[in-house]
Symmetry: D2
Subunit: 314 residues, 4 copies
């Protein structure tokens, strides 16, 4: 994100305060000096970036339990082009929050976000059988509604207890512990940053036609250049079941020769390719460049070819 | 599904009556003579099959707009093995349902299922800006709540209007028209049915290790046997972001030589392969068997090999 | 071949006059105004090009019956770099030539070149059983020796009869009729000519190490760019059985983007690549450029990548 | 080779005594008790096996300097099916043999086989410039002719000196030292022997049509089953330049599951596949079976598939 030095950046997030998105946003250095703008859902938050009300927005892209977040993928593959400027990871911990004094046997209603409900469903069936679960727009919104006395309990991140004056009756109740969510900071398109040597590149590849070998071709273009994929999702084209585009993350930076060359190859064999950004990798893994695919290898082979074309010697 | 002739089958579905799942279930011949059992969510419906209370359950697997349904994929890839016995397709149409007499300007609250909210979000922002949207467990549940006067309007399939005494104020309000949902009838494992010549096979492939070439290897095993994939989704392993299994649909029946041979090859190169069933294809597309991959080709090559091994001549 | 306009080119060939190489040379326009220099064997003819005594030499590269000509391939893959400037094809017809008056029953000795002997061996066993076959350095040399009364018959091209005053006792005696030899005109390295739209490119790829997937990788680099191979021969490295380089002909010209890009990719994954020239294709087949691999496709994808790297938009 | 115990085997070889083929034959245990039958050329020796006059014949298949021996490959790919029963390797050493008393300056004529001439050509040009080289049917034949006073010197294996009463004037004169020839013992088709755990399998794959992806497909079938190729040669089909079959050696035995499975796959995608035998590997390299491709892996996956087809569980 390029922000003129004479003004503060404005960053939208899925509010209210106390959501996972809020907690994730606070891990970014840029958030320390930014105006933070809570938004009711991801679509509105992204619209704020597109229409200029915000400089960026942090949205969840994938979760180690639930997988990709369809709404985010769809905003990235459709509508006006966006850019991923940063990524950050946040452990997902759900607590059962209640007003002080409430006991487990007192609980008749629970409020939470649909994703949180899905990730605690078996705990709920075992510990609160028969209790009514109300789905609300965010986990923090559920906590707020409990504070307002509209429900008995909320499933929400622990941080929401402090914000809304609740207490944690049961800690870490997710059916699968150790879940992690990956968030990305979306901004308007801009020149990619400088490669750090350990980057990630995101893109969407749209198929030229519904031919079954297309995915194999796409993967081969990356593999032959030694570019590892770190995520690939097929996404429906919104037209017909069975016709897909692919949402892809790979190792490396678009300024890296092997990555740029792979993207250019995709551009030739796909109906369209949308570049979503190159940004520092934050998952603790390191890129590996295999023999013959370094920037130097590409430069040498390009010079060799130019020499051959000019003189026949190389 | 093998049901003894002396009793009715019992089929669970995501209730209450009037949901898309209910409408889809009614398209299956087996539903005409079955006991239909409404369930509050997909997890409970599937549990009813696993523990024997139901013989089968119809659940959504993918949607042409939203993509795969994570909860269904996770129940298929984890827990006790299930079998897909049938597939069926249903167009998705959302109407804005109200109590008779309600006008658009009267609406202050709307109830609907999160997926329906996601698919009508832009319509809502344009036509009912500032109106509160309550997320509930099913679209039919939202319609029921409107009939009970708890909300002003529901976003639900048109059929729910008749069931709950509502009227359709606005028809077909989805942001993308022509959406279709694919449902699958899940049952306990059983011998696959007879090939019809136009079948589909579903499976889950678990990677042996996190090596980047794994997906390319998996696709190559299908491609080399002329077996087209009709869906492939990476799914998180619930352990670590970036480690996946793959949920796959392909053309053909496990009794077809090319399909069985591809599955056996996957079994050798993957950590595990879970077979989810072979069943008649209902999307109106036809399987194509390319030259050299027919059952006869496989039989001839197997006999040729046996003859070579025995006599050295072939 | 770039010959200053003020002097005649000098072209070496496997002599003496009347060989197939001589006949093939006469099919080239450049031979009409050239000094033709007969040489005793291919090695000497190629040496004459390398040391400047000749501007070019026409040598056989492959034969539709015998396959590749090892001596030619070895001179192309080893020693100082050479360039293929032209290709030409010549039907191979062997006659049994004798001095006038000689009858089949009179023949006790036959002289011919080893390749001609190999291609007429079954005819000889059937028609001249027990007759001694002397191997000589060229078919024309055999005809000359018959004229000098040193042997009774020669197996040679029909044209040699006229040159050496012999007559054809049996016509077209090759075991396989319709054989064709492909000759190439070798010159010193020089800038490749202008693409004609139907060209061929020759090269040698040396493996980086003895890894079994190397050939598959090499073929994939051509296939992914839609470049068809028209010949590929593994050649021993002269060091160890089982260690190879590959002698390759492909469709297209090094100035074609898809061909240049494939060569540059080979340069990165191989120990070395030797370019042997791009020249007009003369076998009557037409190059086919598949979708997404035209020069325009490459230019567009390169511009798109440059734009992405600069501005993030494309 | 299956020889009844009551009679001696008869083995043909490219004679006369003293050829490389003779020396190689003597390295085989079976030759110790066999009748050895010298033949004038490879075609006649192979005919003797086909028509039953010999039980087997040892012929050269490839040479580390010259590459494949076309005549042998053609007899294996055409005509009646043969079987490779054994392989053996022989270092190739050429000496310059003369009658006792002859000095280098006395030599006016040299006799040798065309292959030996090709492999000593640069030595001859440097050391005996201007001397006439006569091509004869075998190196031993050249030595015999020198003994008979018909030529001044022969280029032949050192062993020929003793046999024909000559002496070695210059030792090891090949342009490339350390050349090795691989010989194979050909027999009539018979059941393959027992796998030793370190075997080689030979075959010829005929293309279904002249499609450029065919070689890539063939290689992929081996690679996906973890079967390394140790030799692959394209051979002309004797019909048209550019139309090929492939002569292939791979690791492993036809009784090995991965090898049998690869051959059966080739049988389906090729116009024809000719099996040439599985026999113990003698080049000092060891077969490597990669993970997931052992016999046990194949047995387990086959049983798993059978169980799935029968019960749907696996």
């Amino acid at each position: 994100m390029t922000i003129p030095s004479d003004r503060q950046p404005t960053l939208a997030f899925l509010g209210p305060e106390g959501t996972f998105a809020h907690a994730a946003l606070l891990t970014l250095p840029i958030a320390q000096t930014a105006v933070l703008l809570p938004m009711p859902n991801v679509t509105v938050a992204i619209d704020a970036v597109r229409d200029g009300r915000a400089d960026g927005t942090l949205v969840p892209l994938e979760n180690s339990v639930e997988g990709a977040v369809p709404a985010t993928l769809d905003e990235l593959s459709g509508g006006e082009q966006l850019r991923i400027a940063e990524e950050t990871y946040l452990p997902v911990i759900f607590d059962l929050l209640v007003r002080p004094g409430t006991k487990l046997k007192d609980i008749r209603t629970v409020a939470t976000h649909p994703h949180a409900e899905a990730q605690t469903r078996r705990w709920l069936m075992a510990n609160l059988p028969g209790v009514g679960v109300a789905l609300v727009g965010s986990t923090a919104g559920g906590a707020k509604a409990v504070a307002e006395n509209r429900f008995d309990a909320a499933i929400a991140p622990p941080v929401a207890a402090g914000i809304y004056g609740l207490k944690s009756l049961e800690a870490d109740i997710a059916d699968n512990h150790a879940a992690v969510t990956r968030f990305v900071l979306l901004a308007r398109p801009d020149a990619p940053g400088i490669p750090t040597g350990n980057d990630r590149t995101s893109l969407v590849a749209y198929l030229r036609e519904d031919h079954s070998g297309a995915l194999l071709e796409i993967l081969s273009e990356f593999a032959s250049r030694g570019v590892n994929l770190t995520r690939i999702e097929s996404r429906p084209t919104k037209e017909r079941i069975g016709v897909y585009c692919f949402s892809i993350d790979c190792e490396g930076h678009i300024a890296d020769e092997r990555v740029g060359d792979a993207l250019a190859a995709l551009r030739r064999i796909c109906a369209d390719v949308r570049f979503l950004g190159s940004y520092p990798r934050r998952d603790g893994q390191m890129d590996v460049v295999v023999s013959g695919r370094s920037n130097q290898d590409f430069h040498q082979s390009r010079n060799w070819l130019a020499e051959l074309r000019a003189s026949g010697r190389g």
